[in-house]
C-alpha cells in the first residue's frame, strides 16, 4: 500500500484512546477506586463515539479498504504499520466499541477489593485497565491490514485476557476459595496455552508467508494473488492456510479445540466472559474471513468440506452439551460454541448470504450473548451460585430480571424479530444453497437451542420460589442501563438490519470475488 494515509489517523486514534485510558486508569491511586471506574467508563464511551465516526466516515460503496494508514515499521522485513477497514471490520469495531461500556458498567463492582491488603493494592484499577487494553488491541486487530501487525496483536491480546481470567474470578464459586483459585488459574492457563499453541503455529505460517510473498501487507499479497503475479505451490498454500486456520479455529473456538472456552467463561466474571466470547473470539472468525479466504483462496476451497463438517459438529455438539450443563455460565459457553459453529459454517459456505450472515452473526451473537450473560451475571451475583439447580421461581420475585433474561435467551435461540434470527437464517440459507445436507443438519441446531434456553429459563426462573431466592432484589438502575440498550438493539437489528447489511455486503462481495465464487443460481432461473 502506498504512503498515502488519511489526513486524520482515525483508526489509530480510536485504538489509542482506550490504550491511553488503560494506562491512566491503572495509574489511579488505590483510594480513588470509583474515579478509576468512571474514567474507564468515560474512555470507553469516548471510544464508542470515535467508532461512530469510523462508521460515518466509511462509505460502503467506496474503496475496499478505507481510512487506511500506512507507516514503515520494520523496514528490513517489510513489516508496516498498516491499517484499513472494510465493511466487516467496521461492523466489528463498532460492536467492540459498543459492548465495552456495557461490560465496564456491568463489572462495576466485580473487582472491588474484598480486603485492603496494602496501600498499593488496587485490583479495581487493574481490572478496568486490562479491559480497556483488550479493547484497544481488538480494535486495532480488526483494522490491521498487515499480517505481522495482526499477528502481534492477536498474540498480545492473550496477556490482558490471561490476567482478567486468572486474576478476577467469579466470586460465586462452589467450594473453598483455594479450590476456586486453583480452578481459576487452571482455566486461565488453559486459555493461554491453547491460544499460544495456535498462535505459534500461526507464527510459523506467517513467516512462511513472508518467505513466499516477500512482505506482510495483506492488500499487496491479496492483489498479487488475485492478479496471479504471486504463484503459490498448492502444498505450500495449503500448509500456510492450515497454519493460519488452526490459530483462528482455536480462538473461534471450533470443535475439537473448544474446551478452553467453558472453563474460561465459567471461571471468569460475567463481564469478562462476555469480553471473551463476544469480543475477543470474534477476532478469530473475523480473521478467517479476512486472512484465510483472501490469502489462500484455493486452499480455503480445498479445506471447505472438512471445515463445514467441523462447524456442523460444533453446532450440534455445543448445543447438546449446553443441554447437559449444570452451570449457567458453562451453558452459555457451550451455546456460544454452537453459535461459532454457525459463524464458521457461514464463512466457508462461500455464498454471499452465508458470509454476510456470518458477519451479522458475529455482531448479533456479541450483543445477544452480552445480554444473556450479563443478566446471568447479575443473577449469579445475587444468589452467589452458578448452579442452575440453586435457582427456581426467580420470575416471581424479580420479574424484570427474569424478563430480560428471557429476552436474552430468546435471542440466543434466534427468535424472529430479534437480531440473531436474521443472521442465523442467512447462514442457514447460504449453507443450504451449496451444501443442502449440512444446512438441514444445522437446522436441528435451532431446536436444540430452544431446548437448552428454555430448560435454563424453566429451571431458574419458573416453578415454586426457592427459599434462597425469596429475598432476591430485582434489577437495579445500573443493571437496567446495561441491559435495556442491548435488548433495544436486539429488537432494532432484528427488524431493521439493513444498515448493517449495507455496510457488510460490499466487503462480502469482495471476499467472494477473492475466492472466485458465485452464488449458486436458483433452479428455475438455471432452467431458463
Amino acid at each position: 500500500m502506498s504512503e498515502s494515509s488519511t489526513v486524520f489517523p482515525l483508526l489509530t486514534v480510536t485504538a489509542a484512546l482506550p490504550a491511553a485510558g488503560a494506562i491512566l486508569t491503572a495509574a489511579v491511586p488505590a483510594a480513588r477506586r470509583t474515579a478509576a471506574k468512571w474514567l474507564a467508563l468515560l474512555v470507553s464511551l469516548g471510544t464508542l463515539v470515535l467508532a461512530a465516526f469510523v462508521v460515518v466516515r466509511f462509505e460502503p460503496d467506496g474503496a475496499r479498504y478505507q481510512l487506511t494508514e500506512s507507516h514503515a515499521w520494520i523496514e528490513d522485513f517489510g513489516v508496516r504499520y498498516e491499517l484499513g477497514v472494510d465493511g466487516i471490520g467496521v461492523a466489528l469495531i463498532a460492536l467492540t466499541a459498543l459492548l465495552i461500556p456495557f461490560i465496564v458498567l456491568a463489572g462495576w463492582h466485580d473487582a472491588d477489593p474484598l480486603e485492603t491488603r496494602s496501600r498499593r493494592w488496587r485490583p479495581t484499577q487493574g481490572f478496568f485497565a486490562l479491559i480497556l487494553m483488550v479493547e484497544a488491541m481488538v480494535i486495532l486487530s480488526f483494522a490491521a491490514t498487515d499480517v505481522f501487525l495482526f499477528y502481534i496483536l492477536f498474540e498480545a491480546m492473550l496477556i490482558p485476557m490471561y490476567f482478567l481470567i486468572g486474576g478476577f474470578g467469579d466470586r460465586a464459586h462452589t467450594g473453598s476459595d483455594e479450590n476456586a483459585a486453583a480452578q481459576r488459574s487452571y482455566a486461565a492457563v488453559k486459555f493461554l496455552l491453547y491460544n499460544l499453541v495456535g498462535g505459534l503455529i500461526m507464527l510459523a505460517a506467517v513467516i512462511g508467508l513472508y518467505v513466499v510473498a516477500g512482505n506482510f501487507s495483506l492488500t499487496e499479497i491479496a492483489e498479487a494473488r488475485a492478479s496471479g503475479s504471486l504463484e503459490m505451490a498448492t502444498d505450500t498454500e495449503r500448509l500456510l492456510f492450515l497454519g493460519f486456520f488452526f490459530a483462528f479455529a482455536v480462538k473461534a473456538p471450533l470443535w475439537p479445540l473448544h474446551t478452553w472456552l467453558p472453563n474460561a467463561m465459567g471461571e471468569a466474571t460475567a463481564p469478562v466472559a462476555v469480553l471473551i466470547t463476544a469480543v475477543v473470539d470474534k477476532v478469530g472468525t473475523f480473521a478467517m474471513l479476512r486472512f484465510c479466504l483472501q490469502l489462500f483462496p484455493e486452499a480455503s476451497k480445498w479445506a471447505t468440506p472438512v471445515i463445514i463438517a467441523l462447524a456442523l459438529i460444533s453446532i450440534v455438539y455445543g448445543a447438546l452439551l449446553a443441554v447437559g450443563q449444570r452451570d449457567i455460565k458453562r451453558l452459555v459457553a457451550y451455546a456460544s460454541i454452537s453459535h461459532f459453529g454457525f459463524i464458521v459454517m457461514g464463512i466457508f459456505a462461500m455464498t454471499s448470504q452465508g458470509q454476510s450472515g456470518a458477519t451479522l452473526y458475529m455482531v448479533n451473537h456479541g450483543i445477544s450473548t452480552a445480554a444473556l450473560m450479563l443478566v446471568a451475571g447479575f443473577l449469579i451475583t445475587r444468589r452467589g451460585s452458578r448452579l442452575i439447580a440453586d435457582y427456581g421461581g426467580v420470575q416471581k420475585v424479580a420479574p424484570v430480571l427474569a424478563g430480560t433474561f428471557l429476552v436474552g435467551g430468546l435471542a440466543t435461540l434466534s427468535l424472529p424479530g430479534l437480531a440473531p434470527f436474521v443472521s442465523e437464517f442467512l447462514v442457514l440459507v447460504g449453507t443450504f444453497a451449496r451444501y443442502p445436507v449440512a444446512g438441514i443438519i444445522a437446522t436441528t441446531g435451532i431446536v436444540l437451542a430452544a431446548l437448552y434456553t428454555l430448560v435454563l429459563y424453566q429451571r431458574t426462573m419458573t416453578g415454586p420460589v426457592k427459599e434462597e431466592v425469596r429475598a432476591m432484589p430485582d434489577l437495579k438502575a445500573r443493571e437496567l442501563v446495561v441491559v435495556a440498550p442491548l435488548i433495544a438493539l436486539l429488537l432494532v437489528l432484528g427488524v431493521y438490519p439493513k444498515p448493517l447489511t449495507e455496510i457488510v455486503d460490499p466487503a462480502v462481495r469482495h471476499t467472494m470475488s477473492d475466492v472466485q465464487q458465485k452464488d449458486p443460481r436458483p433452479e428455475v432461473e438455471a432452467a431458463k
Binding site: 450443563q325 448470504q353 416471581k396 424479530g417 424453566q458 449495507e502 455486503d505
Partner: protein, 646 residues
C-alpha cells in the same frame, strides 16, 4: 387504504409494548387499553373488509410494502403485507374472536395480580398472528409463525410458578420448533429453487420446477403445519397446553393459532396442487389426527383436555380438506371459521364453568350445572350442537361439505376418507355429548376442592375457595357477553356462509375452487352424516345419561386407558426423546471432559515427563557441558564441510 394494513398489526403491537414495558402504574388501566387496541384492530379490519367488498373479486388483494427487511444480494426479504380474501377472513376471525376474548378475560383474570402482563401477551399474540396471516412472503410469515409460538409459550406458562405450566409451555415451544424446522427448510428450498420466497413469485412459478422438489417443499410445509396445528405426530403439546388460562386455550389453542397450519397449506395451495404425493401425506395426516383427536377426546375427564382433543380432530378435518386440493380449500377455511366460533364458545363456557367450580376441571366432579349457570349452559349447548354438526348450525354446513369433498376425492381414497370423516363425525357427537351430559346434566357430583397448593394457587379465586364446597354461580357480564356473541356466531355463521355458497365464491380468487362430486349424491352424504351423528349421541346418552357417572373414573378398557394417556404417544416421546436425549447429553458431557480434554491434558503431562527425563542429562558439571559444546562444534564443522563437499 392499503396503508391501514400495517395499522392492523401495529395496534396490538403497540398495546403489547406499552403493557409489557409500562410497569406497575398501568396495572389498573392495562386491561382496558389492551382490549381497546384489539377492538381498534378489529375495526380497522372491518373497514378494510367493507372496502374490499366494494371492489371486484379480482382486484381485491391489497399490498403494502413497508421496508426491506434482510436484503443480501439475491436474498430479499421484505416487511410487506398482502391482504387478500384469505387473509381478510383470518383478520376478521382473529381480531373479532380476539376482541371478544379480551373482554372475557377482563372478568376471568380479574383477581390475577399480573393481569396487565396477561393482556400484554394477548396483544402480542394478536400482533404476531396478524403478521402471520398478512405476510406476503414466507420469511415474514415465519416471523409471525414464531411470534405466535412465543406468545403461546408465554401464555401457556402464564402461571409460571406451576411446574406443570412451565413444562407445558416449554413442551409446546419445543414441539413447535420441530415444526418450524420444517418451515425454515421449506423456505431454504424455495430460495434455492425459485430464488425467492415471496408468495406471488413462488406460487406463480410452482409449476416450473420438478415435482420432486415441490413434494419436498410440500412435506416440509406439512411438517410445519403439524407442529403448529397439533397434528399427528406433533400433536402432543396441545393437551398440555391446556395448563394455560382458559381464555388462552379458547383464543390460541382453539380458534386461531392452531389453525395457522391450515392457513399455511391453503396459502401454499399452488405447491400442493402440483405435488400429489405431498397432498396425499396431508390428507393422511389429517385423517389420522381426526380420529386420534376424537378418540382422545372421548377418554379425557378433564373438560379442557376433552375439548383440546376435539380441537385436534376438528383441525384434522380442516387439514384433510386442505389436502383435498381445490375442492377442499374453501371448506377447510370455512370450517376453520365456524370452528373458531363454536370452539371458542365452548372453551369460554368451560372457563365459565371452572370459574364457578373453583377451577375444578374434572367433569366427573361436575353435573347438574344447567340450573346454576343458565347462560353458560345455553351458550355451551349451542356450541355443542354446532360442533357435532346439528343440521342448520354452523358446524353442520362446514363439516358436511368437508365430508362431501372427502368422498368427492374419488377412488378408494375417496371412500376411505369419506368413511373416516363420517366416523369422525360420529365420535365427535359421542364425546361432545359426553361432555355435555357430564357437565350440565345428571346429579351433582361436586367435591370440595383440594387445598390451595395442589391447585394452581394463582388461578383466580382459587385461594379463597380452597378447601370449601363449590357454589356454582353465573359468571359476570364481561364473561357471558362474549359467550353469547360467539354462540350467535356458532349458530348462524355457517348458514350465512353457505347462502348460495357466498364463502366459496369469496375465497375462490385465492384458492381456486372446483366443485367436488361425491360418488353418492350430496344429499346421501348429508343424510348419512346426520345418522352417524345421532348414533354417536345415542351411545353417549346410553353410557352417561342413563346411569349415574362414577366420580372416580373406572379403569376402563385398554383403549380407554391408552386414550387417557394420549394413546401412549406422549410416553413414547418421553422414553425415546427425553430419556434418550438426557443419556446422550450426559454421555457427551462426560466425553467432552475425558476425551477431548483428556487428550490435551495427556499431552501436557507427557511433555512434562519428557522434560523431567531430559533434566537428568544436565548434571551440572561444567566439563560435561563443555563436551557437548565441543561435540556440537565438531558436528557443525562436519556439516559445513559436507555442505561444501556436496
Amino acid at each position: 387504504m392499503e396503508n391501514l394494513i400495517a395499522l392492523l398489526v401495529a395496534a396490538p403491537l403497540l398495546g403489547a409494548a406499552v403493557l409489557l414495558c409500562g410497569g406497575r402504574r398501568l396495572d389498573r388501566a392495562g386491561h382496558r387499553l389492551g382490549t381497546l387496541l384489539a377492538a381498534a384492530s378489529f375495526v380497522i379490519g372491518a373497514v378494510l373488509f367493507f372496502d374490499m367488498l366494494g371492489r371486484g373479486a379480482e382486484e381485491r388483494a391489497l399490498h403494502q410494502h413497508l421496508f426491506s427487511w434482510v436484503p443480501v444480494e439475491s436474498f430479499r426479504a421484505d416487511i410487506a403485507f398482502q391482504l387478500d380474501q384469505l387473509s381478510m377472513t383470518f383478520v376478521l376471525l382473529i381480531t373479532g374472536v380476539g376482541t371478544l376474548i379480551h373482554v372475557y378475560s377482563i372478568g376471568y383474570m380479574e383477581h390475577d395480580e399480573r393481569r396487565r402482563r396477561f393482556f400484554g401477551y394477548l396483544n402480542l399474540f394478536l400482533a404476531a398472528m396478524l403478521l402471520l396471516v398478512l405476510a406476503d412472503n414466507y420469511l415474514l410469515l415465519y416471523f409471525g409463525w414464531e411470534g405466535v409460538g412465543l406468545a403461546s409459550y408465554l401464555l401457556i406458562g402464564f402461571w409460571q410458578h406451576k411446574p406443570s405450566a412451565a413444562t407445558a409451555a416449554k413442551k409446546a415451544f419445543l414441539v413447535n420448533r420441530v415444526g418450524d424446522m420444517g418451515l425454515s427448510i421449506a423456505i431454504m428450498l424455495m430460495f434455492t429453487t425459485f430464488g425467492t420466497f415471496a408468495f406471488g413469485p413462488v406460487l406463480a412459478a410452482a409449476g416450473e420446477t420438478g415435482e420432486g422438489m415441490l413434494t419436498a417443499i410440500g412435506l416440509m410445509l406439512l411438517l410445519a403445519a403439524c407442529g403448529k396445528s397439533a397434528q399427528v405426530p406433533l400433536q402432543s403439546w396441545l393437551g398440555d397446553a391446556m395448563e394455560g388460562p382458559t381464555p388462552v386455550s379458547a383464543l390460541i389453542h382453539a380458534a386461531t393459532m392452531v389453525t395457522a397450519g391450515v392457513y399455511l397449506i391453503t396459502r401454499s395451495g399452488a405447491i400442493f396442487n402440483a405435488a400429489p404425493d405431498a397432498q396425499l401425506a396431508v390428507v393422511v395426516v389429517g385423517a389420522v389426527t381426526l380420529l386420534f383427536g376424537a378418540i382422545v377426546g372421548c377418554a379425557k375427564d378433564d373438560i379442557k383436555k376433552a375439548l383440546a382433543g376435539s380441537t385436534m380432530s376438528q383441525i384434522g378435518y380442516m387439514i384433510l380438506a386442505a389436502g383435498l386440493g381445490p375442492i377442499g380449500y374453501a371448506f377447510a377455511i370455512m370450517h376453520l371459521v365456524t370452528h373458531g366460533f363454536f370452539k371458542a364458545g365452548l372453551f369460554l363456557g368451560a372457563g365459565s364453568v371452572m370459574h364457578g367450580m373453583n377451577d375444578e376441571v374434572d367433569m366427573r366432579k361436575y353435573g347438574g350445572l344447567r340450573k346454576y349457570m343458565p347462560v353458560t349452559f345455553v351458550t355451551f349447548g349451542l356450541g355443542y350442537l354446532a360442533i357435532i354438526g346439528f343440521p342448520g348450525l354452523s358446524g353442520f354446513w362446514s363439516k358436511d361439505k368437508i365430508i362431501e369433498a372427502a368422498f368427492a376425492k374419488g377412488g378408494t381414497e375417496g371412500w376411505i376418507l369419506g368413511a373416516v370423516t363420517l366416523l369422525g363425525a360420529g365420535i365427535t357427537a359421542y364425546y361432545m355429548t359426553r361432555v355435555m351430559i357430564m357437565t350440565f346434566f345428571g346429579e351433582k357430583r361436586w367435591q370440595p376442592a383440594p387445598d390451595a397448593d395442589a391447585v394452581p394457587s394463582a388461578e383466580p379465586a382459587a385461594e379463597d375457595h380452597a378447601g370449601r364446597m363449590p357454589h356454582p354461580h353465573e359468571s359476570p357480564k364481561s364473561m357471558t357477553v362474549p359467550m353469547i356473541l360467539l354462540a350467535f356466531g356458532s349458530v348462524f355463521a355457517g348458514g350465512l356462509f353457505s347462502l348460495n355458497s357466498a364463502f366459496v365464491h369469496w375465497l375462490e380468487p385465492v384458492t381456486a375452487f372446483e366443485h367436488g362430486h361425491p360418488p353418492i349424491g350430496a344429499a346421501a352424504v348429508t343424510a348419512s352424516t346426520v345418522v352417524v351423528l345421532l348414533i354417536g349421541v345415542g351411545i353417549a346418552y346410553a353410557q352417561y345419561g342413563r346411569k349415574p357417572v362414577p366420580v372416580v373414573a373406572p379403569r376402563g378398557s385398554l383403549l380407554t386407558r391408552a386414550a387417557r394417556r394420549d394413546l401412549l404417544q406422549d410416553d413414547f416421546n418421553h422414553v425415546v426423546l427425553v430419556r434418550g436425549g438426557e443419556h446422550l447429553t450426559r454421555s457427551l458431557v462426560y466425553m467432552d471432559h475425558t476425551l477431548v480434554d483428556g487428550v490435551v491434558n495427556g499431552t501436557a503431562a507427557s511433555v512434562g515427563g519428557l522434560s523431567g527425563r531430559l533434566r537428568k542429562l544436565q548434571n551440572g558439571f561444567a566439563r560435561s557441558y563443555a563436551v557437548s559444546m565441543f561435540g556440537g562444534t565438531a558436528v557443525l564443522i562436519a556439516a559445513t564441510l559436507l555442505m561444501r563437499g556436496v
